[in-house]
């Protein structure tokens, strides 16, 4: 459906070094797929969206949408609908006119326009403000109008820039479900930009994680969690973030030994490592390992940590402990009695460790649960 091939975006401005916002981006989105562009601000996700819409030119590379090469077309001919982060409603038009605008431009019949506007207004709960003007409604309402204005159209692709950033949490959860339902029911293809992992997981079929203009990994949420491609994805995805530890590498018969501090060592069986990983480990003396907080067992094991904080969140405990100057966070479903300053054991099992090479790529994933 949508193919982005080797796209680069460089912003040139006089007297300043050029900014490489997007580097060699390759992405393919299937028909009916919902994709999230996830990343911190300035990572290139909005630039990507605007290049697809046609408000930014592509420095190099190609974008095709349903066999049509679109990166040279004016925005009007790309058959793309977009909800803008700043809403961008037409101030002199009422909410209803704003939503109906594109349909009227396509010369749809009066009956069809009002039927579709009413339907989408019900979906995002703005029926009561249809006759108001944009400047008299709240930010959250404007955002929903902007969303409705994009979703009401017939387009090949829907681009949503931070579509629910201004909504209250409850409404956000409700709308997420409804919008996902609408997109699925009509087989609409959508890409949305967000920095909210929960939103990305809840709405998207696949998530594209971007950082520094580079696509780090493009996969399902489960895949991102279980098989992070590199250190960035590993530390970015998941709440609380993955624990990362520096370890010293030593050869052991049939595998390797990784040691953290004076008394903790992990033995990694050679059969769990592939050829490339073994080579990499032979060349380096230190590597980083990562473990999800949910995989650390509290109360047993040989890593003795000094408790820094211990919070019971109603359904799980977040225990932060210090070991040899490093902070480890464990999440368990049990209530833990430890108080700050207490010494308690954490268990880190070698099979739960992700191993990262010197360049940050993941050379061995933890065993799937």
């Amino acid at each position: 459906m949508l193919e982005i091939r080797n796209v680069d975006k460089v912003y040139q401005s006089r007297g300043k070094p050029p900014v490489h916002a997007v580097r060699a981006l390759d992405m393919e989105v299937g028909k009916g797929e919902i994709v999230a562009l996830l990343g911190s601000s300035g990572c290139g996700k909005t630039s990507t969206l605007r290049m697809i819409a046609g408000f930014e030119s592509v420095t190099s590379g190609a974008i095709t949408l349903g066999q049509r090469r679109i990166d040279e077309l004016p925005p009007a001919r790309r058959k793309v609908a977009m909800a803008f982060e700043g809403y961008s409603l037409y101030p002199p038009l009422t909410v209803r006119e704003n939503i109906a605008f594109a349909l009227k431009a396509q010369q749809r019949s009066h009956g069809e326009v009002s039927r579709r506007v009413d339907a989408i207004a019900r979906l995002v709960e703005i029926e009561d403000i249809l006759d108001s003007y944009p400047r008299s409604i709240s930010g959250g309402q404007q955002q929903r109008v902007s969303l409705a204005r994009a979703l009401v159209r017939d387009a090949d692709l829907y681009l949503l820039d931070e579509p629910m950033g201004q909504l209250e949490p409850q409404l956000r959860a409700v709308l997420r479900g409804r919008i996902k339902g609408l997109l699925a029911e009509r087989g609409m293809t959508a890409i949305f930009v967000t920095h909210d992992q929960t939103e990305a997981s809840a709405l998207a079929d696949r998530i594209a994680v971007m950082e520094d203009g580079v696509l780090q990994q493009f996969a399902s949420e489960r895949e991102l969690k279980e098989h992070p491609a590199n250190l960035f994805v590993a530390s970015f995805i998941g709440e609380p973030p993955m624990n990362l530890l520096e370890t010293e590498v030593a050869r052991a018969d049939g595998g390797i030994r990784l040691s953290v501090g004076p008394e903790v060592t992990f033995r990694i069986e050679g059969r769990t490592l592939d050829q490339g990983a073994r080579q990499m480990l032979e060349q380096t003396a230190r590597i980083r390992v990562g473990i999800r907080p949910q995989k650390i067992a509290v109360g047993s094991g040989d890593v003795r940590v000094r408790v820094v904080s211990n919070q019971w969140l109603g359904d799980q405990s977040h225990v932060a402990g210090e070991y040899d100057g490093r902070l480890l966070i464990a999440v368990t479903p049990n209530k833990i009695a430890a108080r700050p300053g207490d010494i308690i054991p954490f268990a880190l099992e070698p099979r739960h460790l992700h191993l990262f090479g010197a360049d940050g790529t993941c050379i061995r994933h933890a065993e799937a649960a």
Binding site: P75, A76, G139
Partner: protein, 285 residues
């Protein structure tokens, strides 16, 4: 809201009245003068009460100035019409050129963009006399001396920078995404400019147009040098009232009343646009 004491309110009333009198007095005095003869005006001490006369207005409209030294032809009404034609044409031309230019400066970053914009603005702080001498030489060679077009062109020095810089600010206040949304809905870049950007900047464009109209109307020195009697605006034409037999204060006052009235009415009418223009920032969401 009003918590102040009676004394405070009285004091505020008096202060406001004083300010009002201070600013309105010259206008009121000139209005009164325009209904008096030269003798009545020059009486010492001046009288508040007098017998009003329409002779000044009559003289202006008929074009016959009767002085002690005899009859004098004046072309005040023609000057007034010239002022109208020249200022309106100058503002229309400046809007046609300035609004698209302001849009370009607001939306696109291009080489030398800021330099060009600033150069245009610098026309506003160059003293007119500095450019007048070389300009009149050029105008003579080009055959533009003493033509309406020549004066309208030189008025661009006044109107164009003003419109460019005011309107640019208004365009910058409009989120470009509003135009983007319009273009995504199936419209061209040109349509987005004429149907979204220009109407949204409308109050700003009206305000800038009004201001440059007033500046053109008030200009004296360009037309004095570059135009002859039949093409001069009122500002230059008013010199005719300084006659061999003295200064015709009554006629000058009447001429001022007649020439100020149109701009005053225009300003009063356009005031709501100016206020609307100032609240445009609310659009930003």
């Amino acid at each position: 809201m009003d918590h102040s004491s009676l004394a405070g309110r009285i004091f505020r009333g008096i202060a406001l009245a004083l300010v009002l009198v201070f600013f309105m007095f010259p206008i009121v005095w000139i209005f009164l003068m325009s209904f008096q003869t030269n003798e009545q005006i020059l009486r010492i001490p001046p009288h508040i009460l007098f017998e009003p006369t329409l002779a000044n207005y009559q003289a202006l409209i008929s074009g016959q100035l009767r002085t002690t030294a005899g009859n004098l032809e004046i072309s005040f009404i023609r000057n007034l019409m010239n002022s109208f034609a020249l200022s309106s044409a100058a503002v229309v031309l400046a809007l046609l050129l300035g609004v698209p230019a302001a849009y370009a400066f607001a939306r696109f970053k291009f080489r030398l963009g800021e330099t060009i914009a600033f150069t245009l603005l610098s026309f506003r702080f160059a003293p007119p006399l500095l450019v007048l001498l070389p300009l009149s030489l050029y105008y003579q060679q080009l055959g533009l001396n003493d033509t309406y077009f020549g004066i309208v062109w030189v008025y661009q020095l006044i109107a164009l920078p003003l419109i460019l810089w005011i309107v640019r600010g208004y365009f910058e206040d409009i989120s470009p995404d509003i135009e983007h949304a319009y273009r995504l809905a199936g419209h061209s870049w040109r349509e987005a400019f004429t149907r979204i950007a220009v109407p949204l900047a409308g109050p700003g464009i009206a305000a800038a147009g009004l201001l440059s109209f007033i500046f053109c109307w008030n200009n004296f020195v360009f037309a004095l040098i570059l135009a002859s009697a039949d093409k001069q605006p009122v500002t230059v034409g008013a010199l005719a009232f300084v006659t061999a037999s003295g200064i015709q204060y009554g006629q000058i006052a009447a001429a001022i009343v007649l020439s100020v009235t149109p701009t005053l009415l225009l300003a009063l009418y356009a005031q709501r646009y100016l206020v609307e223009g100032l609240s445009l920032g609310a659009v930003k969401g």
